[in-house]
Amino acid sequence: MLKTETKTKMRTFSRPACIKPVVYHYCPGCCHGIIHNLVGQVIDDLGIAEKTVGIASVGCSVLACDYFNIDFVQAAHGRAPAVATGVKRVWPNNVVFTYQGDGDLAAIGCGEIVNAVARGERITTVFVNNAIYGMTGGQMAPTTLAAQKTTTSPDGRDALRAGMPIRVSEMLATLDGAGYIARVAVNNPKNVFKAKAAIQEAFLNQLEGRGYSLVEILSTCPINWGMTPVEAMKWVEQTMMLFYPLGTFKNNGRQSHDT
């Protein structure tokens, strides 16, 4: 359950204090900007900027470390959970989060995320799933949908040869070390609020020492999907959500599948 939803207050829009006043490099219609701001708002709201260390991964969000006013470490491709483990074990009272895309987390970094969750590391992962490798120009990812066209699946992902996509949240929720696992989207204002609540819950999960927390956020890549930003948002809702249902898959060690 996304229980903090009702606590959201009306306020004037402003840049989160822990986000630098710089222009993001992200493409028009990409959701990284929204998600950065949500993470920034949660860090501000919880008052944890002084003790938070972010881990950037490889992909479009590799430059996330240039956008936050907090300490950051840039990890090798897929290794953010291992790097975060190193930081967290040195400063157990700090808040440590990784910000990873789907190519980074679900392909090359599958071993690192699975084992970090299994160990129950007190870390939070913001997992941005746009079903494609964005930075390298739109190749097939483990999360690419069946029949989805990419530069390395020009006729659409062939499930017989390339398999079906990995549902990361469901997979990780089977691990005992997971404290909080949820999938959200930022395709409309209502879902943006829910996404913020989920990110907040994930950070609270870490602050309260309840194991690993991960929020999977369905995102867009209009450029590599070959769509306008508006079409991309519709595709998230009408196509991605059919395969990747929104919901909380683990909370405080309690299994649930509500959407």
Binding site: F72, V73, A76, V90, N94, G111, V114
Partner: protein
Amino acid sequence: MGETKLMKGNEAIAEAAVLAGCRHYFGYPITPQNEIIEYMAQRMPEVGGVCLQAESEIAASNMVFGAAAAGARAMTSSSGPGISLKQEAISYLAAGELPCVIVNVMRAGPGLGGITPAQGDYFQATRGGGHGDYRTIVLAPASAQEAFDMTMRAFDLADHYRIPVLLLSDGALGQMMEKVNLKPCEPKMTSKPWAATGLHGRKSNNVVKTLILKPEELEDHNNKLQAKYRDIEARETLWEESHTEDAELILVAYGIMSRIAQSAMSAARAQGLNVGMLRPQTLWPFPREAFKDVAKRTKAFLVLELSAGQMVEDVLLSIEHKRPVSFYGRTGGMTPKSQEVLDEILTVMGMKGERLKC
């Protein structure tokens, strides 16, 4: 004087790390270095430290990256195949100028190879090993005591120069037990104002990163790294000479091979042959000047390695081919007896057939 104990070389490394103030060890099992992670699993909790068995060597070395970025003294260890996997993180550690210690207890390769001692990882160790232009300091102990001493030194060097330091041991040194004096040594702890510790009142945020997209900035960064490497070359070269004053033939060996060479040299000298030895203790930086100097006095070199010939290239480069250099090596985890080396000495000195006893 500290306590003296009978220890395996691997255990000496682990204890030295603890005494050097290392409280974060990340490892993964592989023979012949398992004593290090097993020792740490028991020892680290006693001193309030962390010993974490990672899911792979890749993860272990990236945990070291995280711990080092967070400002801690961190270490990992492995052997051949595992060290190959660590090269990814080592390149990032070098690029991010993160201090740490990496131990390679060498086994025979290539591929999965075998678990017996070898020195075939010399090129990998001394040329950087991963992608990009970088070096790591490479220390090569020849006894359990030296493994202990060098591990302590490795942490200080790593912090001082902000560089990964590689301790290049081998399966024989790691497994054999020798007397080790646990000399108390005050670690030279340095402040790390660049570390990602969380702001905690600091005005500007610290970012540890290795992506530099502007070519001119990346070239500047490379130039900075290279200047540091030149500085290390000028200051941190270590070697040991014996009987080089009168030697007509200089044996060159490091690690366990130097112990065999030592026996062969003693046997040769006992029988009137002027044989000396030069043992590099740092493989990078390589003691080039020492070789140049010795080359002025001696007639020839015989390089001995547990490989098909890797360090021999550095010897040739150092003396600029001004003296004849012979090579004798065994591979596959085979270790020569000192008699074998003595026979080779006689061959090189033109006394083949006059088999002396070792």
